[in-house]
């Protein structure tokens, strides 16, 4: 029975979960992530051999410059990329499941733009704010973006259709970006802000990683804990209620997770878009419809993809780093187009 419906899933309509594939992806994904992290540490303005990387991590010698570079510059960068990638992808998976919208992504839905606006406000009016406060402001900004988008979307008569949500997201992003631009131009912080907004992993410090990690890890754990409910929500509100879910509570909890995940990541790596769009689709394609598997797999694959994008951005032009957000957009735009066009064809 199980294999029969699984083979049915291959033909387009997926109705089952594939735990075996999921476990495989988690294991292979983690191995690939570690490899990618090692490569990411070794490439850059100074190339460092993988041997040295190994030694720097496990037999640290403070007298060697290469070990210093690895410890102080590259390790935090790699860790931040993994954390932010996992967070963006998990946030995307939660949103797609909760809203039943295949085009949901924190970048498309204006959440990143909201966090960006609040950071611009911080840069302009309260320069020198400690990082922890920056992060809290970013959460508030993310919430602002989400409230506008979902508010406008859900006030409408026809409910939240994917198109409506995307349009509301585009308009909200335009609004928030315009205000951000206004602040940037008026206070002449445009260039700093642009570098940060474009998605920069270059200046990540240990302190930021230390502050970022607990938020993201706790939220990821929370997402996994809620994943059963998210699966039920993804079947539709009526079914979820019928199966005993308190959907208001679950949705509120999910929204909170998304805001913290996206807001925290934006405050460290900038507004990296499209990760949350691509990865959950890939994960769903690979492991089926159960969010208990989709969310952890998304987190691992998201971490891997951001790590790879970061490597790609540095290889593309080692001296002047290409913003990693541009790399993810390069991957994400064709994917978004594919989804948008496929959706129309099937309906």
């Amino acid at each position: 029975m199980n294999s029969e419906s699984a083979s049915h899933g291959e033909s387009g309509l997926q109705t089952t979960a594939r735990p075996l594939a999921a476990v495989l992806i988690l294991v292979l994904g983690l191995v690939a992530l570690i490899l990618a992290a090692a490569v990411s540490i070794s490439v850059g303005a100074t190339d460092i051999s993988l041997d040295t990387v190994w030694n720097a991590v496990f037999h640290f010698n403070p007298d060697l410059t290469t070990h210093q570079i690895i410890r102080e510059l590259r390790l935090p960068r790699v860790l931040a990329a993994a954390l932010a990638g996992a967070a963006f992808a998990a946030a995307g998976a939660i949103m797609q499941g909760m809203t039943r919208n295949p085009l949901a992504d924190s970048g498309i839905l204006g959440i990143n733009a909201g966090a960006g606006l609040m950071l611009a406000v911080c840069f302009a009016f309260m320069p020198g704010l400690p990082f922890i406060s920056l992060m809290l402001f970013a959460f508030a900004g993310a919430a602002l973006g989400a409230v506008i988008v979902f508010g406008a979307g859900s006030m409408s008569r026809g409910g939240l259709s994917p198109l409506r949500l995307v349009l509301a997201g585009a308009a909200t992003s335009a609004l928030l970006l315009a205000i951000t631009d206004g602040i940037a131009i008026h206070y002449q912080i445009g260039r700093d802000l642009a570098f940060w907004f474009a998605g920069g992993l270059a200046g990540v410090s240990w302190e930021q990683v230390r502050l970022l990690a607990p938020w993201i890890l706790v939220c990821l754990a929370g997402a996994v804990a809620l994943s059963r409910s998210i699966t039920l929500l993804s079947l539709g509100n009526d079914i979820a209620i019928g199966l005993g879910q308190r959907i208001g509570l679950v949705k509120a909890a999910c929204t909170l997770l998304v805001l913290v995940l996206a807001g925290a990541s934006v405050s460290v790596v900038g507004a990296v878009g499209f990760l949350g769009l691509i990865i959950p689709h890939v994960a769903r394609y690979l492991v089926g419809v159960d969010y208990r598997w989709i969310i952890p797999c998304s987190a691992v694959l998201g971490a891997l993809l951001l790590e790879l994008s970061d490597i790609g951005a540095r290889l593309f032009n080692p001296m002047a780093e290409t913003p990693v957000g541009a790399v993810t957009a390069l991957l994400g735009v064709p994917f978004f187009l594919y989804l948008a066009m496929r959706d129309r064809r099937s309906s």
């Binding site: 085009l103 498309i108 506008i148 406008a152 979307g153 006030m155 409408s156 008569r157 026809g158 259709s161 198109l163 409506r164 995307v166 349009l167 509301a168 585009a170 308009a171 909200t172 335009a174 609004l175 970006l177 315009a178 205000i179 631009d181 206004g182 940037a184 131009i185 008026h186 002449q188 445009g190 260039r191 642009a194 570098f195 907004f197 474009a198 878009g273 499209f274 002047a320 290409t322 913003p323 957000g325 541009a326 957009a329 390069l330 994400g332 735009v333 978004f336 187009l337 948008a340 066009m341 129309r344």
Partner: protein, 338 residues
């Protein structure tokens, strides 16, 4: 008997529309006057009149004729151009949310101008800009049109909106990469321009924009009937004898031309093409013969008002327009049924 009653109704609606447009024109004139007074340096109305009649101080003449007037004229022309372009796009796609900014046309024009600025000096030829940005906008528009085209179905609106958003996101990513490579002077120029500034405008900008509007405005008005017919749906329009797909392509090209030339000289100002036609439709109804000029007037009013607000604060006009426009867009979205 019936036909006379019908034509009578049409005539009375035409008279009403003419009256409304007269009021709008009057508002444009009033706003023009107010706009001449405001700015970082205020000129009292009497001073403005004195300067206009040629007896003001040199300083006042410089401010009024070299800085303020070209900027006001530009915001009027740009607003009219965007309003008209949006009205045509909404007519073609039969979607009330279609707009040059949302459809990625502005982003395409912006990218090309950025390329030009980053490879040349900041103050390159003003007259080359519209041509270049037409190339960029045309390429973006062709891409969007091509990707949302299906054989036997033509262009579906929803697909077009989604594709437009995606293309705009892609172009914006490229734009970002390029802007980071600019030196600080170029960066400030580009950022201000991208945000939709009519700052730093002089009469050359007006002379560069005017020919485009002079050519494309009559084209738009000549096609008013066809836009009306298209509103009835493709089947009916074909049945009434219009070559729908071909006409749509012409109109699309004209709309892109308008938006591109306005973007090239005024910067990327979104939402005007959306709000202008909407206000116009509320005021004069859905007939394009009245709707097109009313959209142009509404667009001009909007941009002039935004520019008047923006000028004392020294922020780009496009930002004020977005702050007014985005909430209106969300409101429309919430109201629309599907």
């Amino acid at each position: 008997m019936k036909s006379t009653a019908f034509s009578h109704a049409e005539r009375s609606r035409g008279i009403r529309a003419a009256r409304i447009m007269g009021i709008m024109l009057l508002l444009v004139v009033v706003l023009f006057m107010i706009s001449m007074n405001t700015g970082v340096i205020r000129l009292a109305p009497l001073d403005v009149l004195r300067t206009l009649s040629g007896s003001g101080s040199d300083n006042q003449e410089l401010i009024l004729f070299q800085f303020r007037l070209p900027r006001i004229v530009m915001s009027l022309l740009i607003g009219a151009g965007f309003g008209l372009s949006g009205c045509m796009l909404q007519g073609i796609t039969r979607n009330a949310l279609a707009e040059p900014g949302i459809l990625g046309i502005n982003a395409g024009a912006g990218l090309v101008v950025l390329l030009y600025v980053s490879s040349h000096a900041v103050n390159g030829s003003v007259f080359l800009l519209p041509v270049l940005s037409l190339l960029g906008a045309g390429a973006a528009a062709a891409l969007i049109y091509g990707l949302s085209y299906r054989r036997h179905q033509g262009v579906s609106t929803i697909r077009m909106l989604l594709v437009g958003i995606a293309i705009a996101a892609g172009i914006n990513a490229l734009t970002l990469v390029l802007t980071l490579k600019l030196n600080p002077e170029q960066f400030t120029y580009v950022q201000t321009w991208l945000a939709g500034s009519i700052m730093g405008t002089d009469w050359r900008f007006v002379t560069a924009l005017l020919p485009w509007l002079v050519v494309l405005l009559p084209v738009a008005f000549a096609k008013a009937r066809i836009l009306d017919v298209m509103n009835l749906g493709d089947f009916t329009a074909t049945g009434l004898g219009s070559a729908v797909q071909r006409e749509r392509l012409y109109l699309f090209a004209a709309a892109v031309g308008l938006a591109a030339s306005c973007t090239a000289l005024g910067g990327s100002i979104g939402f005007v093409g959306l709000i202008g036609p909407h206000l116009a439709r509320r005021l004069v109804g859905p007939q394009h013969r009245q709707l097109l000029p009313a959209s142009a007037l509404a667009g001009a009013l909007l941009v002039m008002a935004a520019d008047t607000i923006a000028r004392p604060f020294d922020v780009p006009t496009g930002i004020v327009v977005a702050v007014i426009g985005a909430p209106y867009f969300l409101y429309l979205l919430a109201k629309s049924r599907n």
